[in-house]
Assembly symmetry: C2
Homo-oligomer: 197 residues x 2
């Protein structure tokens, strides 16, 4: 009897993960139980290990195992460019592209009047401190192209006006994108930002 309850509890927990619902949580749990030695126990151990060791970088908000993350620790990344992102997932996406060689600042979300998220709820004060303390020459706003993301970008740009160079990611046709499948807004932005060949 107790076993069924343990299983049901596990399925409920798995169903809370983004991208999984009750049905896929059941499938995942059955899969884990079938591969107990290969998957279930290692996953449990790894979760425990990550849960015990992972912490937020005190400087930029990235996650790592020390008080400073690997990027903030590395002198090679101190090139004066500071890329502002909303979430750690965005930082990872930038790192996967491996074109940015500077440091990051993770805001921990975007300003939102609806959800009552103001500058104090985000790491915006810390951003201003870092710009004053570190040798930052350019702030690159890599925020989501959503209403909240763009509001946040405007707010930060306003705060930094006249003090430092502020840029944002270019908007336009995605690499490999077909015009026929693009939304009107993207085509409009790409046309406005057209450049000489």
């Amino acid at each position: 009897m107790n076993g069924k309850t343990d299983l049901e509890t596990l399925i409920e927990m798995m169903a809370k993960l983004p991208g999984l619902g009750p049905r896929s949580a059941r499938r995942a749990v059955l899969h884990l139980i079938k591969k107990r030695a290969l998957l279930l126990m290692p996953l449990a151990d790894q979760l425990t290990r990550v849960g015990q060791t992972v912490r937020e970088c005190l400087n930029c908000g990235n996650i790592g195992t020390a008080s400073l993350c690997a990027i903030c620790e590395s002198d090679k990344r101190a090139n004066g460019e500071l890329c502002v992102v909303e979430d750690v997932a965005d930082l990872w996406a930038m790192e996967r592209a491996s074109v940015f060689k500077g440091r990051y600042h993770v805001l921990g979300g975007a300003l939102s009047a609806l959800d009552a998220v103001g500058p104090e709820e985000l790491r915006i004060p810390k951003l201003l401190d870092r710009i004053a303390a570190e040798n930052v020459s350019e702030v690159i706003l890599a925020l989501n192209a959503t209403v909240d993301g763009q509001t946040t970008a405007h707010y930060i740009a306003e705060q930094l006006e006249g003090r430092i160079a502020v840029t944002s990611l270019a908007q336009g046709v995605p690499v490999g994108g077909e015009l026929d499948y693009l939304d009107d807004g993207t085509i409009g932005a790409a046309l406005k930002a057209r450049k000489a060949v």
Copy 2:
């Protein structure tokens, strides 16, 4: 550095779950880290607990915490009906419908010439033993309506011919189903099995 490797290992493990890929595994791991106390640590503990306690029922192949599962233990379920399913997931689906009051037998898959799965690889010998040993009056084949599932159903029906009543789930229009969206095979099966109103 080590932290990043731990995180990457965790993401790789999560990406192996059915229904999750690398992208959704990253999202899930970030979500877990954000809700460390509420989700990550309890999930790790629950996985460990389930991994240590859950085992296969020696009688029917269901999963539970004792050598006999709750259904095989319960006298109330000994009504002479034995429902044969391919997997534990199918048993759970039957139980959710809560219309079947008998016991189950989990085969652990279906016969498959392509994957070299013969009767000995499944729990078919154990099924024949149970029918001889337990007071079974009817075997209900609740196997998937796939080629392998139906091959398995035919094989079991052949083995039991003349010894015991063998039935299978009805095929037809699903409850709430619209004819327009049904495949030809289902409409054909429903027409063949039509009944007087």
